[in-house]
């Protein structure tokens, strides 16, 4: 399962970050780290990007960028 596939309201725990290079570093700098809890809040009206809550703040990213983030769905 990856973050892009989660529905609004679904929560998960990040298990790995498959992205590489600057994208991976940027994600990590924004607090997207393995073991972190993440919740999808919204999908933009046109279907992309998505908004997630992580490290108690809100982050938006394109689905393509979220695809590399593997999550374990919780609840």
């Amino acid at each position: 399962m990856n973050l892009a596939k989660l529905k609004p309201g679904q929560k998960g725990k990040i298990t790995s970050i498959g992205s590489i290079g600057p994208l991976k570093r940027r994600l990590m700098d924004m607090g997207v780290l393995v073991g972190e809890d993440v919740k999808v809040l919204k999908v933009a009206p046109l279907g992309d990007p998505i908004e997630v809550s992580i490290k108690s703040y809100n982050l938006s990213l394109r689905k393509k960028e979220a695809e590399g983030i593997a999550v374990e769905v919780a609840g």
Partner: protein, 737 residues
């Protein structure tokens, strides 16, 4: 720097901070996350003393202020807002290069108290540099309102840096922040922040690396902050490795070998984890949140604003309002400035110069060159101010990020960013504020690409040209023809966007990853300071170029002095010289070519020049108003402008303007153009090089002529090609020549 030199430096430091300390200027760098209120804090501290410019060679804005506080001279340098100090973005590289190479006396780290953990991640990295740090624990009031309790004393203890709670919007804690900064800067010995423990594995590797590195490269380790350098080496930071000319260090591999094996991850992840662990641990220790969490205002607003069905209509409404406010509100003032420079100012100049015995050409140079030049700069001031004010409001309130979120799907499909929409939209009113609005885009690639495409949006200044030609050649389908030009601009922007993506902007597409900050009410003071900064910047920096070109055009138009016929002026000669270029596109005559030259100042001037060439007005003797009448006019017309602006806001109907009589001009144009060549001409006016003001804006925004030059050449080439296709294609289809 050798060890010996460094010692001397420290001695000097100690001496300076002793008796002669007061004479020294203290350099304070301000660093922090975007949305941490850093700009507001700087605006509140430095206000109008801020100077805005660019960091050398990059499209990143640099703000700086010199002022005195507590009898001491302070130089405040605002670093770009960043989340980290990685080597991947221009902003981050600018910030860290400054900190590493310029070594400010002190860093003020602005931290958002409502978002402590992610902000502390940057703090941890800043502390690696070994430069004294004072933390501004900003947005403290909002955190307190939410029921957060932050133990700032414990934080001081754990980090070894001073922490001062502040609220930039309410201007609290700012004096204490500066006083603390001075105190820390003056206490040489115990002023370095604590060395944080990154965990045993990393520390062991770091020690090992320190030994090996010191023996192999003794010079380097003294030149850089040691802790920072070692950590960057461990991360194999591409920017540092390149700067040092290092790669494939055997001992580095050895140092990292164990670390990699123990963690099973790449080093960058291990380091990010270690830093975030410190930030989380610290947050856990010092922050006490209330148990019960209320549904926050931001959440409630976003439920509506980002709603699946309402999101887009609300966005459209917001954009309509932005456009309306920016242009309609500023237009009466722009017109007022135009009328003033055109009327009273010129009359006053003549009234002063003529009795002094100034020759006619001097009077004309002052009036039609200098005053008209100043006027052409000034008329843009209201719209720039209005645009900056509303854009800054959108940004500061948090809606800008939502607008990007809603629009990104559409804009990304043509290779742009969600935030590109606003500059493009403003471009339809006037390209200049559109170009300035690209500053809301963080990534330089997105920013430059957007600015290059903005001038393809058909601005208000092109409209008079269309209206004139459509009225003559397409009176029955006038609106369809004008619409087709707008659409042509948009389609070509899409096409050129794709072309640029494959050529000048090849490589990895910029990322979207963006914080959606909580909604906040921006402080009016900060909005005004920011608007003033940009307005001033435009006036004096961009204004210089615009003014110079206006004067140059006067020379072209009026020299040799006393020419009977415009054809004999330098402008006419220049027009005749380039006219053959326009032969294949349908308007190879000197009249059209000359008007295109003057149209470079502003595209609507094409109409004015054509008027002068085709149907010169005879000098009419008008009653010259007295000085008193003039002064009265200045005041009353300003009052009228205010009323018009207010009416616009309230949607009251306004008096229509009278159209000028253009009879003679119309007949002449009918003879010189055919419907086909007229359409090709309009397309050319739409597309050819942006006006001087837009070019000056690009030069100013990007700190280099490069992108302004690219814009100038590609657009002119595009315009010629499009006109060629229209004209020759039309002829092939038998639409007449």
């Amino acid at each position: 720097m050798s060890t010996q030199l460094k010692h001397k430096d420290e001695e000097l430091d100690a001496e300076v901070s002793g008796h002669s300390a007061a004479a020294r200027t203290i350099t304070v760098a301000v660093a922090g996350n975007p949305n941490s209120g850093k700009s507001t804090l700087i605006n509140a501290i430095a206000g109008t003393r801020l100077h805005v410019g660019n960091w050398a060679g990059v499209t990143v804005e640099k703000k700086e202020a010199f002022f005195e506080f507590g009898g001491r001279k302070i130089r405040l340098v605002d670093l770009p807002g960043t989340y980290s100090l990685s080597p991947y973005s221009q902003e981050e590289i600018v910030a860290r290069d400054y900190l590493v190479h310029e070594r400010p006396d002190l860093i003020i780290n602005v931290v958002d108290a409502t978002n402590l953990e992610r902000n502390l991640y940057l703090t941890v990295q800043i502390m690696e540099l070994g430069i004294p740090v004072v933390m501004a624990l900003n947005i403290y009031d909002e955190a307190a309102e939410k029921g957060y309790r932050i133990d700032d004393k414990a934080m001081e203890e754990m980090l070894g840096i001073a922490v001062v709670p502040t609220s930039a919007t309410k201007k609290t804690g700012l004096d204490e922040l500066l006083a603390t900064a001075l105190r820390v800067a003056d206490t040489p010995k115990q002023r370095a922040p604590k060395k944080l423990n990154y965990g045993e594995d990393i520390e062991v590797a770091c020690d090992y690396l320190a030994k090996s590195f010191r023996s192999s490269y003794p010079a380097l380790i003294d030149h850089y902050p040691q802790r920072w350098l070692l950590l960057k080496l461990m991360e194999q930071d591409s920017h540092v490795m390149k700067e040092l000319g290092l790669d494939n260090l055997d001992f580095l591999d050895q140092a990292l070998h164990h670390l990699r094996r123990a963690h099973g991850e790449d080093i960058e992840s291990i380091m990010a984890d270690a830093r975030y662990s410190l930030a989380s641990g610290l947050t856990h220790e010092v922050l006490h949140k209330p148990e019960l969490r209320q549904t926050e205002l931001t959440e409630r607003i976003d439920k509506v604003v980002l709603n699946r069905f309402l999101g887009i209509p609300i966005f459209m409404g917001a954009m309509w309002l932005l456009f309306k406010l920016t242009f309609d509100l500023s237009a009466p003032f722009g017109k007022w400035i135009g009328a003033m420079t055109d009327g009273p100012f010129k009359r006053w100049a003549s009234a002063i110069l003529t009795p002094l015995g100034a020759p006619d050409w001097t009077v004309s140079l002052v009036n039609d060159g200098v005053i008209a030049g100043v006027g052409s700069v000034l008329v843009f001031v209201p719209v720039i101010f209005a645009m900056m004010f509303f854009i800054t409001f959108l940004e500061g309130s948090g809606y800008m990020a939502r607008a990007a979120f809603v629009m990104d799907r559409t804009m990304h499909s043509i290779g742009l960013h969600g935030k590109s929409f606003i500059p493009m939209l403003l471009g339809f009113g006037c390209n200049v504020p559109g170009i300035y609005a690209t500053r809301t885009l963080e990534n330089p690639k997105d920013k430059v690409l957007t600015a290059l495409l903005v001038p393809l949006m058909s601005c208000g200044a092109r409209l008079p040209v269309y209206v004139l030609f459509v009225g003559i050649f397409f009176p029955k389908n006038s609106s369809t023809v004008i619409w087709s030009l707008y659409i042509m601009g948009i389609l070509l922007a899409v096409g050129m966007g794709l072309v640029f993506k494959q050529t000048l902007f090849r490589g990895e597409a910029p990322m979207f990853i963006m914080e959606l900050p909580p909604y906040r009410m921006p402080s009016l003071h900060s909005l005004c300071v920011h608007t003033w900064e940009k307005g001033k910047h435009f006036l004096f920096k961009a204004g210089t170029y615009i003014f110079a070109v206006s004067v140059l055009v006067w020379f072209l138009l009026n020299l040799p002095w006393g020419v009977e016929h415009k054809r004999d002026s330098y402008l006419g000669q220049a027009g005749a010289a380039i006219a053959p270029i326009f032969q294949p596109v349908g308007f190879g005559n000197w009249e059209a070519a000359s008007s295109l030259i003057t149209g470079v100042i502003a595209k609507e001037i094409v109409v004015g020049t054509m008027g002068e060439i085709y149907a010169p007005k005879k000098d009419e003797k008008k009653d010259v108003p007295t000085l008193q009448e003039d002064l009265k006019e200045v005041a009353t017309s300003f009052g009228a402008a205010c009323v018009t602006a207010a009416k616009t806001l309230l949607y009251l109907p306004q008096a229509e303007e009278k159209e000028e009589d253009q009879g003679g001009l119309k007949v002449a144009i009918l003879g010189a153009f055919t419907p086909l060549s007229a359409y090709a001409f309009m397309a050319f006016v739409l597309l050819y090089m942006p006006c001087v003001v837009a070019i000056a804006a690009m030069r100013q925004e990007f700190g280099t002529w490069k992108w302004a030059g690219v814009g100038l050449f590609y657009q002119t080439a595009l315009a010629w090609t499009a006109a060629l296709i229209i004209y020759q294609g039309g002829r092939l289809l038998g639409l007449g020549g």
